[in-house]
């Protein structure tokens, strides 16, 4: 990585990254893949987020589902750890709570493959500053 020397550098990088994410999220082209974020904060990890992340990666690979699984910080739903956010192309991201292996398998099977929701999804209950 080259150093960011100017404001322009930063803007270019930002736009490049934003475009990349948009591509992923808009879901009607090459990057037509499922994105999963696993909340990996202390309490997430303490309640098994790491195992879930590994499980998801393996399962998705085995089922040949194109997906990116990344970590993220605390989503705030400590009562429902581990939590994951799943973004299926073309759809709003959905947060699932209390994800154990069984539930993770269910999410892949029902939601990712069959667009079927599973009980206990966590509605986003906060406003962001994005707009």
């Amino acid at each position: 990585m080259n150093k960011i020397k100017t404001l322009e550098d930063l803007k270019l990088l930002r736009e490049g990254m934003q475009a990349k994410f948009k591509l992923r999220e808009s879901g009607n082209n090459a990057e037509n893949i499922v994105r999963i974020k696993v909340a990996m904060s202390t309490c997430g990890i303490a309640s098994g987020a790491k195992e879930i992340m590994n499980f998801l990666i393996e399962e998705l690979e085995q089922q040949a589902i194109e997906a990116v699984v990344t970590q993220t910080g605390c989503m705030g739903y400590c009562y429902a750890e581990p939590t994951i956010e799943v973004t299926v192309p073309g759809k709003e991201p959905i947060v699932f709570g209390e994800v154990d292996k069984h539930r993770a398998a269910e999410i892949i099977e029902k939601y990712i493959i069959h667009n079927e929701l599973v009980d206990g999804i966590l509605p986003m209950n906060y406003r962001t500053i994005d707009n």
């Binding site: 202390t42 309490c43 303490a46 309640s47 400590c78 009562y79 429902a80 750890e81």
Partner: protein
């Protein structure tokens, strides 16, 4: 306190740590962290050597070690048990858990079992309040613990003999 003699290697380790912080008195806490990380605890002889290396009084080193609850002067058990005593855990029954562990292991807080297997400590909030009450064994976090589960948790380790990867003094 029984006197121990530090091995040549331990001496070197401590000297290296001190040197990596420029033997600077102001870095004492970092040095202690690093040393405890490597050796598991900070017995008197280790503190004396550190004082010597950092060119400060051993009384001051001891003053710092005894001020911060993170530093230990006695070896921890093979499986250190920590009970979170944060408020969230407290209102969800951490005291009963602690009581039960003390009863099961027959030790008080700050002590180790005679076989050196377990040591018991309290800590203030690991930040897993969503899982209260929380007990940690080594690095592993047990959430939503009930007094009846304590026996089972301890039993998990009773048989096991995972040697800690700590440097022998």
């Amino acid at each position: 306190m029984p006197k121990i003699k530090l091995s040549q290697r331990t001496n070197e380790i401590i000297r290296e740590i001190c040197a990596s912080f420029d033997n600077s008195e102001g870095e004492l806490i970092n040095v202690l962290h690093e040393t405890q990380h490597k050796l598991g605890y900070l017995p008197a002889e280790v503190q004396e050597l550190i004082a010597n290396e950092l060119n400060m009084s051993v009384a001051k080193v001891y003053g710092v070690v005894t001020f911060y609850s993170f530093f230990n002067m006695i070896p921890q058990g093979e499986f250190p048990i920590s009970v979170c005593m944060g408020t969230a855990c407290y209102v969800r029954g951490a005291e009963q858990i602690l009581h039960e562990i003390k009863r099961q292991l027959n030790i008080e807080v700050g002590q180790s079992t005679p076989d050196g297997k377990f040591s018991l400590n309290c800590l203030r909030c690991v930040g897993a309040c969503g899982l209260a009450p929380v007990v940690m064994v080594g690095e592993k976090v047990y959430g939503r613990v009930a007094p009846q589960q304590v026996r089972k948790i301890i039993a998990e380790y009773q048989e096991s003999t995972v040697k800690q990867e700590k440097h022998e003094m």
